[in-house]
Amino acid sequence: MKLAVIITLKKDVLDPQGKVIEQTLQNMGINSLKNLRQGKYIEIELDELDEKKAHSTVENMCKKLLVNLIIEEYKIKKI
């Protein structure tokens, strides 16, 4: 089973890299752009058929290593 983890900085943590990307896109003339946050995307393949179990394994990975819970938040998706 394959899962993806999307990690972004929490809303109240300044994302200077995201700001630069946002400003550049606005300077390129994309006026409808309101807000942009950048982050990390990790694909994980597991030897597991049970979706619930796979989800909880990845959740554990996030808490123990992949995510710094003080400044980052994450979403897990099946792909």
């Binding site: 943590v13 890299q17 630069v20 290593l65 003080i70 400044i71």
Partner: protein, 225 residues
């Protein structure tokens, strides 16, 4: 006094720290990150550099290495731990120190000499400095922008757990002399028991007036005496 410097793939200040420690009469040993045993140590130094190429987050992978389990055990039993630069980032990732080190506010790697004010000297790392001393140390980092929650920040300020803050030549602390955007100009913090110090500036680079200055000696001397 026995000291140990932990070496990771990508550490690049390990030998500088070892030179500083030996010069100041520590009996120093270097320990590779894969080792499972720590030599008997009064002080463990986690040096600067780019452990594991800063993959995932600075310090995240090193924090899970074999030897760090032993370092955490030693820290919990009161051994002095000094994390410099990437060493500070590693200590944060282990949870021995609280908070986070974000990318520098200006998104640039900053390598320069900065002024620091000794805010709290009532700890084993700083007692040879005087309170409000202004010292000049070097910084060289990309992720040194210290951030923490409001209640922890208050705890740091109230309990004298901030040894150093960035300042100007005259000792004034404000946003103009904050190189990386750290909250309250914090350059280093202690844990509650004051046996663990994490700091972004490099005291080991300031131990010889021939190549820089000697402002870093006070820190190593404090530990010795």
């Amino acid at each position: 006094m026995n000291s140990t410097v932990i070496v990771f793939p990508g550490s690049n200040c390990d030998r500088d720290v070892a030179t500083a420690l030996t010069k100041l009469q520590f009996k120093n040993k270097m320990v590779w990150h894969k080792d499972n045993n720590l030599p008997k140590s009064d002080l463990i130094v986690i040096p600067g550099g780019f452990s594991y190429g800063d993959y995932l987050r600075s310090g995240a992978i090193a924090a899970k290495s074999n030897i760090l389990k032993e370092v955490i055990r030693a820290a919990n039993s009161g051994c002095l731990i000094l994390g410099i630069c990437n060493g500070f980032q590693i200590l944060i990732e282990t949870g021995l120190l609280q908070g986070a080190l974000l990318r520098n506010r200006n998104l640039k790697f900053i390598s320069k000499d900065v002024y620091l004010k000794v805010i709290n000297n009532d700890n084993k790392f700083c007692k040879n400095y005087k309170k409000n001393n202004i010292i000049n140390l070097n910084i060289a980092h990309n992720e040194g922008n210290y951030f923490t929650q409001k209640d922890h920040l208050k705890e740091l300020e109230d309990n004298a757990l901030i040894p150093f803050k960035y300042c100007d030549k005259e000792g004034s602390i404000n946003d103009n002399n904050n190189p990386n955007g750290s909250i309250n100009n914090i350059a280093g913090i202690l844990n509650n028991k004051k046996n663990i110090l994490g700091m972004m500036p490099h005291p080991e680079r300031m131990i010889d007036s021939l190549i820089s200055n000697t402002d870093g000696i006070g820190l190593f001397n404090s530990i010795l005496n």
